[in-house]
């Protein structure tokens, strides 16, 4: 297998975008091409979850490659739920690693705000088991809520820990101009004041409004290239050193230990094995905090902290900007936003920005190794990646 590098990156605001979906994919793609100093690539991968359902558009690959004026380059859309982004990056990686392509464009996009929140909630719920979950009215917040209740019971995680994740990620998002939410919040305001529970109502008990990511539009893109191509481009050498993917049962209740996220554990372990690194080597991580509990649990399952102790590390500030392992300096899904198909690519965008030393006020000093975890379904399809800056 050849080595694969990130040659260029681009992103839109994650917020509410009022232009067609293909353009939400094309803007960041143009930025990534310009960043890499390229006019053309050998293949285009478009990550997206909901175009057919929410935007009434199929065959998005063809639309995006044409919008970019890149025909006759090959293009395809990759859908893997909220892990579509990382899936597409993985496909791009394979194309270059196999020697079939020298440089490829991976662009993720989603336009969920075209519909109202009730429809968006239902759309997201379609990733659950159709007969054993969906028909009951299960939503993703509902899954996360039932999981949270068990985690609280077993490991002593409290609403305060969850609020601390939200406060941290909102604060990080303040430093990210592309983040959806630019609103600092405090534990006082969402948990302790007499008005807190009106400010922060239940979405699915025990999870509240500020425990959930917002529904966002957005796009993010990366260019992946071979070492030979990188030599021509003269960009910093950020290598995609490890990728791991694992699945788990579609129906969440079938898992033997309902507080495990085995697909996170397994995907992270294979990503680290492939990279020849360990969790201790990581300087900065972007985890899939669609719900505050997930940041805590993924930080354990990825191997950064022992099982059941993620919330203790959080308490000590270990995961804050400036702590020993900053998690979600971009604001995470909580603060930066969660346009489902773009999220996985957006995570890569942030890690590359960090490893290049371009993150400005939210820069993690001296970051050389970065980790991403893109979590599809409720933990039934997870992709982890390890990135290394080479000198």
């Amino acid at each position: 297998m050849r080595e694969v590098y990130v040659a260029g990156i681009g992103i839109t605001s994650f917020s509410r975008l009022e232009y067609p979906l293909a353009e939400i994919a094309a803007y960041p793609a143009m930025l990534a091409l310009r960043d890499a100093g390229l006019k053309a690539v050998d293949q285009v991968y478009v990550a997206n979850m909901g175009s057919a359902r929410i935007n009434n558009q199929t065959a998005l690959g063809s639309a995006v490659v044409d919008t970019l004026g890149l025909t006759p380059t090959g293009a395809e859309r990759i859908e893997n739920g909220p892990a579509s982004g990382a899936s597409a990056v993985k496909q791009g990686f394979l194309g270059v690693a196999a020697g079939m392509y020298e440089a490829v464009l991976v662009t993720g996009c989603e336009r969920m705000r075209e519909v109202n929140n009730l429809e968006a909630t239902d759309f997201v719920a379609t990733m659950t088991h159709p007969l054993a979950e969906y028909i009951y009215g299960v939503t993703l917040p509902a899954h996360a809520a039932m999981f949270t209740r068990l985690y609280m019971e077993r490991y002593g995680v409290t609403a305060r820990h969850l609020a601390m994740v939200a406060v941290k990620n909102h604060a990080n998002a303040m430093l990210n101009p592309f983040a959806h939410l630019h609103q600092p919040i405090t534990v006082e305001g969402i948990l302790d004041s007499p008005e807190a529970f009106t400010n922060n109502p239940y979405v699915a008990e025990p999870l509240r409004f500020f425990d959930c990511c917002p529904v966002s539009d957005g796009g993010a893109a990366v260019i992946l290239a071979s070492r030979e191509k990188m030599a021509e481009l003269g960009k910093p050498l950020i290598r995609l050193a490890g990728i791991g993917q694992a699945t788990d049962t579609l129906a969440v209740f079938e898992r033997p230990d309902p507080t495990d996220l085995l697909a996170v554990r397994r995907s992270a372990a294979s990503a680290f094995a492939m990279a020849g690194l360990t969790p201790g080597d990581v300087h900065v991580a972007e985890l899939h905090d669609a719900f505050t509990i997930l940041e805590i649990v993924e930080s354990e399952e990825a191997g950064f902290f022992p099982k059941g102790e993620g919330h203790l590390a959080l308490e000590k500030g270990a995961t804050a900007l400036g702590g020993p392992l900053p998690i979600n300096p971009s604001g995470g899904l909580k603060g930066k936003g969660h346009p489902v198909g773009a999220t996985g690519v957006g995570q890569v965008h942030e890690i590359v920005t960090q490893l290049r030393g371009d993150a400005g006020e939210r820069q993690v000093a001296g970051a050389k190794v970065g980790f991403t975890c893109n979590f599809g379904g409720f933990g039934n399809n997870v992709i982890s990646m390890v990135f290394v800056r080479e000198e």
Binding site: Y136, G137, A145, L207, F253, E254
Partner: protein
């Protein structure tokens, strides 16, 4: 007639599956559809639950109770809860009722009440 939800028993190794899958995850030896349907028991223990406040449009209630129940034969399932104040570990008993209406279709599923 009392409505049932079925689990599926592998004809090779006897492992019970709910929900349905085409190949046995335990032995992997059976051919497609080599399963026998077995009605799920209706009594069990509540493992976890939530009340969902932010529901898809077709639900006209302010909040909906959902829970995971460990049934008396050890299988687990998700169902709706018709319980005002659920407690972890409480005994529940289910009944198959309409759990969702989509356009003209009515979907049946398990609704659990305190035993």
């Amino acid at each position: 007639m009392e409505r049932q939800i079925h689990a599926y028993a592998c004809r090779r190794c006897g492992a019970l599956h709910y929900p349905f899958r085409m190949v046995c995850r335990e032995c992997g030896e059976n051919g497609p559809h080599e399963f026998d349907p077995v009605p799920l028991p209706k009594e069990g223990t509540l493992l976890t639950f939530t009340f969902v406040h932010n529901l898809p449009a077709e639900y006209e209630v302010a909040r909906l109770g959902l829970g995971v129940v460990e049934l008396s034969n050890g299988l687990r399932m998700l169902g709706q809860l018709d319980i005002a104040d659920p407690k972890l570990g409480m005994k529940v008993v289910g009944e198959v009722e309409v759990v969702r209406r989509e356009a003209y279709a009515r979907r049946y599923g398990m609704v659990f009440r305190a035993a």
